[in-house]
Amino acid sequence: MPSVMQMEKIANRIRQDIIKMLVAAGSGHSAGPLGMADVFTAVYFGGVANVDPKKRHHPNRDRVVLSNAHICPVLYATLAHRGYLPVSKLKTLRKLGSPLQGHSNNHFDIGIETSGGPLAQGISQAVGMAIAARMGTSSHVARRNVPVPATRDAGRGTAFHTWCLMGDGELDEGQCWEAFMLAGKMDLRELTVLIDRNNIQIDGTTEQVMPLENLKNKLEAFNWFVIEVDGHNMREVLDAMREAKARAANPTAIICHTIPGKGVDFMENKFEWHGKPPTPKEASIALKELRTLGGKIKSEHE
């Protein structure tokens, strides 16, 4: 497993790939993917979530669900760096015939569990997966001692955890709260959500468009266990994930406070960057900043 410092470097490379992908595509979302690069790196490289490209079909693999699928460039770049698909594929983002569709789907064998786009659909599916994990081997089967056919054990006897990545603007959708209610009712400890609390959505800041605060209290009132972390602090994110997985009760929400556009100075905290890609010129400035870590080191390209 990579060290925290190594993971930070991976996150930086993922950010660079996000910029390159967006420029090649000529459309797509910038701020969200950059802001979530650290959290995605923690999920896929941190060793807490049980994910492995060599075991992408294993019935007991942890399920990772991206609910706000418009930030899929960060998912694609992370999966590529983790070995689910060749990094060279990333430049096909949003192109005809590419597995890297404008919003992520489960049609291609690249480790993506669900299809998303219309917001809130991922969290409901994640709740369903967590319930399937809970159901495990049917008690009925166990009682009657009927052998389970090997080919049909996808949801059986499972010991997997489901991790759902969500946006904060997404929480405007009533369906999210329907899902939170059901998970709370079932005390669904098999489920953890990581909420990207970056405070922006398309029309402005979340608190202008539709106030979410006090988000922690709201979730707790729905019988969720809530942890707040700095979404750019790898160690904090991983500690929270470990705590969530170890808990014996409650679904867990990890509210990840992030900076939208993180790592690219002129994009940080600007809601205007929610839904557009950089121009080639802006991209070269962004890439230079990422390569030099904001001027802290000299770029190897200079």
Binding site: N105, Q121, Q125, V127, S139
Partner: protein, 325 residues
């Protein structure tokens, strides 16, 4: 082709009557016993969708979602993607009416193996009125790629449909009704998803029916026979994929047809047959169904008469179709 077995009592007033939803409840119990992957979800409508007995017998495989149909459809998709065979049980006006987007993306686009049971369809829902009478569910489901759409004709066929849906890999929508309707088919009547069948042979006009109104079509055929007109009656329970082979074989003989359904005449059975005929076998077509209108409160029989979905309406439409040949 030999007509298939119907109950010998189908045309008598003494024929057994049962709500089609009872067949669903029966099938769920059979599936609970035989298939440990089957799970059932409902949104606060366990009793009236007949999901309740399953929930009582197999509480570990039953998810009560509360009045939250959108979440229910997504949860079902998640269960299916993790290997389960979920049955989503609610009223059709809510599911797939209210959660169509979730059906489209979480289920159909994701190719999740979810079965959607839509209860309380047609004006014959009765006193609850227009808001609870699903008359557009076939149109909105038929438009979705990869979804099988079925309207079984009676409780026995609904039972077989639910069993066949569980055995099929992929999403299936099927609808049923609230009121008691004649049980025309018997245990031996074959049922296959996507396969229409001829219930009565004839050569003057084809009556293509789905759902409990198949009974009106069969009665209309008897009335037409009294006038010397021989109608062929096809039970076209599956609207998608449409069995054009069986339909066109009948149309080749009769050269005109009437569709009979308890649904808007836009996008349902009439829509499906008209599309197929337009592409492959143009003939005069008449429709018996909801005439671009919302329903209202009343007794089921009153409503079917008011909106033109009785055996007499089928007779009239058949005569019109023959005239247009």
């Amino acid at each position: 082709m030999k007509p298939l077995t119907l109950s010998p009592y189908w045309m008598y007033p003494t024929v057994e009557k049962k709500p089609t939803r009872d067949g669903y409840g029966q099938a769920l119990l059979e599936l609970g016993e035989n298939n440990p992957d089957v799970v059932v979800l409902t949104a606060d409508l366990a009793e009236s969708t007949r999901a309740l007995p399953f929930g009582q017998k197999y509480p570990d495989r039953f998810v009560e979602c509360g009045v939250a149909e959108q979440n229910m459809m997504g949860v079902a998709a998640g269960l299916a993607l993790a290997g389960k065979i979920p049955f989503v049980s609610s009223y059709a006006v809510f599911s797939p009416g209210r959660n169509w987007d979730q059906l489209r993306v979480s289920v159909c686009y994701s190719k999740a193996n979810v079965k959607i049971a839509g209860a309380h369809t047609g004006v014959s829902v009765g006193p609850d009125g227009a808001t609870h009478q699903a008359l557009e569910d076939l149109a909105i489901t038929r438009a979705l790629p990869g979804l099988i759409v079925v309207a079984p004709c009676d409780a026995e066929e609904t039972r077989k449909c639910a069993l066949a849906a569980a055995a099929h890999q992929g999403p299936v929508y099927f609808r049923f009704a609230r009121e008691k309707t004649p049980v025309m088919t018997v245990k031996e009547t074959p049922f296959e998803l996507g396969k229409a069948y001829v219930c009565r042979e004839g050569y003057d006009v084809t009556l293509v029916a789905c759902g409990p109104l198949l009974h009106a079509a069969l009665m209309a055929a008897e009335k037409l026979a009294a006038r010397g007109i021989e109608a062929e009656v096809v039970n076209c329970h599956t609207l998608k994929p449409l069995d054009t082979k069986t339909l066109f074989a009948s149309f080749k003989k009769t050269r005109c047809a009437v569709t009979v359904e308890e649904h808007q005449t836009t996008g349902g059975l009439f829509g499906a047959v008209a599309e197929a005929c337009g592409r492959g076998f143009p003939i005069p077509l008449e429709s018996v169904g909801m005439p671009d209108s919302f329903g209202e409160s009343g007794d089921p029989d009153q409503l079917l008469a008011k909106f033109g979905m009785t055996q007499n309406h089928v007779v009239k439409s058949a005569l019109n179709a023959i005239k247009r040949k």
